[in-house]
Subunit: 419 residues, 2 copies
């Protein structure tokens, strides 16, 4: 009730929201009818309404409207991973633990090594730059894959669980690489003790969250059951997801790792069915914001080969893209001891996202990477993001959800959508 | 995917959201158990987590975090009015049309006249200031009342329909007063033609929206029924609400008037049940943000009588508060020709909100109102907001929902809340 100026106008933000939601659903529908995952439609819709073409949806988090889109998008991807955690069986996740660890480690080491090697051979000298380039290629951004596998009904396969498990481990490894890379950028050397401390903190957080969560969640939701106020179940479930996301962020992990853990924990409560049923419409509102805003941030101008200034960027970007894809595909094949769709696993690990961009930005701000290399990394991230949805669908056609084939979900009376 | 600075940190915003949601539900539960509407708990929770006490929830829309809270709160109140529109019978609204019109007109004229008179007698001279003071007392802010009546299950009474109808008309009248007041502040005189144009635009918009909406909504949702992509129904319903809110904002009305109209229109579609069922969890997530942020913006320091600087503010604020309450209560009694709970109607019209504050801010920026008068108006707004919830519950005890007593709602399997 203060008398100050408004950073944003409500009406204009409503307009942005309307455009995002309509574009997401129309393009999602179109792509689904073309046999593609809906999320690819949302990404393409984002490109059209975003920076490159129509310029309606701002994505710069330094802009007042962009920062709201950014925050709501982050809420969206957190709810998505929360929902996926809810529908994931914890015992099944443990069963694929060793496979996920292998995929994660190989999928971090290979792209890093080949990224380093490529830069060393291409430009020579300056190994610090090569380390940064390698680092940007390591961490999988699981949002895209998770959404595609949900779209096509393959989230309950062993392959999907390995991908998600590996992505969580990836995030921990990414955290360590970030510490190393930050140390190199700031002081030129690395504190081994500091890196180990971070590792302990991240693993300790996840272990503690799961242990405390699994023992207290039932009790907490018994309490919720006795509350009378409207909307308490969906609110407490969402608060739980946001709280673990927030704590994950505090220890340096991606918020979505915490949100996923929250889902895993709540999948063991008695109110599981109602939580899933009520969180779905909330996810439907927020999630497209994430994928549309990823598309909206794509700057297709740097892809234009008619501009000679883009040539070197395109060459480096193309090379990094190849390394990014091949590194993860080979990682998928590293699970040699189990009969699995290994190619599908590797493809699911391909998308790179925010973690790589954070590394690139650190390097840019620290004066280690040039603007051209930064743009090449952007091309790699954009490419891996856009290539994954159309690849995953045919690759996953040969896999079948093995356990809990359609775990009894809450019935949706009058539900008009086909899922 | 740009490399710019972030205005807001995701983790910190998650923390703010967690605090808002938890405080809302805990205080809501407490107040409900004390026999008060949950929304009063949310307002009080807002005071505690907001500016005055803990300072966790920012409300200044000029602050990056505050602007996000503000926008999500506005989405929340729009969804609330959309939901109320969905559950309102259009024919019943028309049946109370003349009563609503009477309550609105009397409830605007009386507070304006007595506010003007008070200032004239208290300070003398300067009739422009008196006009501004009167104007700030006119428009009802329907969010609080609508939420209380939903909380206590009285939203389907004739009295509730009269209040909501009168609030919609109030908003149109407020728009005209705003045009007059803006003209006075800017140029010192008023364009009658301009005011009539605005009036025509607002009434025309509402009439056109209802007419077009009612004829196309069924057809639109038949189309939606044939779409396959997930979440399309809740998204299209929300887009419809936001679109009408946006258009209302464009013609100068409050966005919630458009959202309410959208709800009225969609209440006639075949998918009504599913829309209500799916919009509820979304409302549960967003709506408390509105009420907590209202409470959070309250600055209790200006209420401290130990500070001599507050004395005159408190006296003027107290007088304005009395005029604000009495003006609307008398307006409730103006529906003399129908057997109704007239006192309840008047009490439901008491809350003042954003419209009054907009007037006050215009006056402050135009150099017509002093900071002290502005603070006194704030006291009036705060007082009317906080006094309404505890008043409405006992007053509405004597009314019963008359028609469609619990219109068949979508069953909520496993729903754990009592409503």
């Amino acid at each position: 009730m203060e008398g100050t100026a408004h950073l944003v106008e409500v009406g204009h933000f409503f307009y942005i929201l309307i455009v995002i939601m309509l574009a997401a659903k129309l393009a999602g529908e179109l792509f689904e009818r073309l046999g593609q995952p809906a999320v690819l439609g949302e990404l393409v819709a984002g490109v059209i309404v975003g920076t490159s073409v129509l310029g309606i949806v701002p994505t710069d988090p330094g802009d007042p409207y962009g920062s709201i889109v950014h925050i709501m998008a982050e809420i969206g991807v957190a709810i998505l991973l929360f929902e996926i955690g809810l529908e994931t069986d914890l015992r099944e996740m443990f069963r694929v633990g060793s496979a996920a660890l292998t995929v994660a480690v190989v999928g971090v080491v290979l792209p890093f090594f080949f990224g380093y090697l490529f830069w060393h051979m291409y430009q020579g000298g300056a190994s610090l730059v090569a380390i940064f380039v390698g680092a940007t290629l390591t961490a999988t951004s699981v949002g895209i894959t998770a959404r595609v596998l949900t779209d096509i009904g393959k989230i309950n396969t062993s392959e999907a669980r390995i991908i998600i498990g590996a992505a969580v481990i990836d995030d921990i490894l990414g955290l360590l690489i970030l510490a190393v890379v930050e140390g190199l950028a700031d002081t030129g050397h690395v504190s081994v003790l500091g890196v180990l401390e971070l590792f302990g903190l991240a693993v300790g957080f996840l272990a503690a969250a799961m242990a405390i969560g699994l023992t207290t969640a039932r009790w907490l939701f018994e309490l919720v059951n006795r509350m009378r106020v409207r909307g308490v179940l969906v609110t407490v479930a969402l608060v739980f997801a946001l709280l673990l996301a927030y704590l994950a962020d505090l220890v340096g992990l991606a918020p979505i790792v915490g949100a996923f853990a929250a889902g895993l924990i709540l999948s063991r409560t008695n109110q599981f069915d109602t939580i899933v049923e009520q969180i779905k419409p909330v996810a439907d509102v927020f999630t497209p914001l994430f994928f549309v805003s990823i598309g909206a941030a794509v700057d297709i101008a740097i892809l234009d080969p008619r501009n000679p200034a883009n040539h070197e960027i395109l060459i480096i970007g193309g090379a990094l893209f190849m390394i990014a894809v091949l590194g993860k595909v080979v990682a998928g094949f590293s699970v040699f001891w189990r009969k699995l769709n290994r190619l599908a696993i590797g493809a699911g690990m391909v998308p790179r996202g925010e973690v790589g961009l954070i590394f690139a930005q650190l390097g840019l701000l620290g004066g280690i990477l040039t603007q051209d290399v930064f743009s090449a990394i952007l091309i790699m991230v954009m490419g891996t993001t856009l290539i994954t949805p159309p690849l995953l669908k045919p690759l996953f056609n040969r896999t079948t959800p093995e356990n809990d084939i359609d775990r009894p979900r809450a019935a949706h009376p009058g539900m008009t959508e086909l899922e």
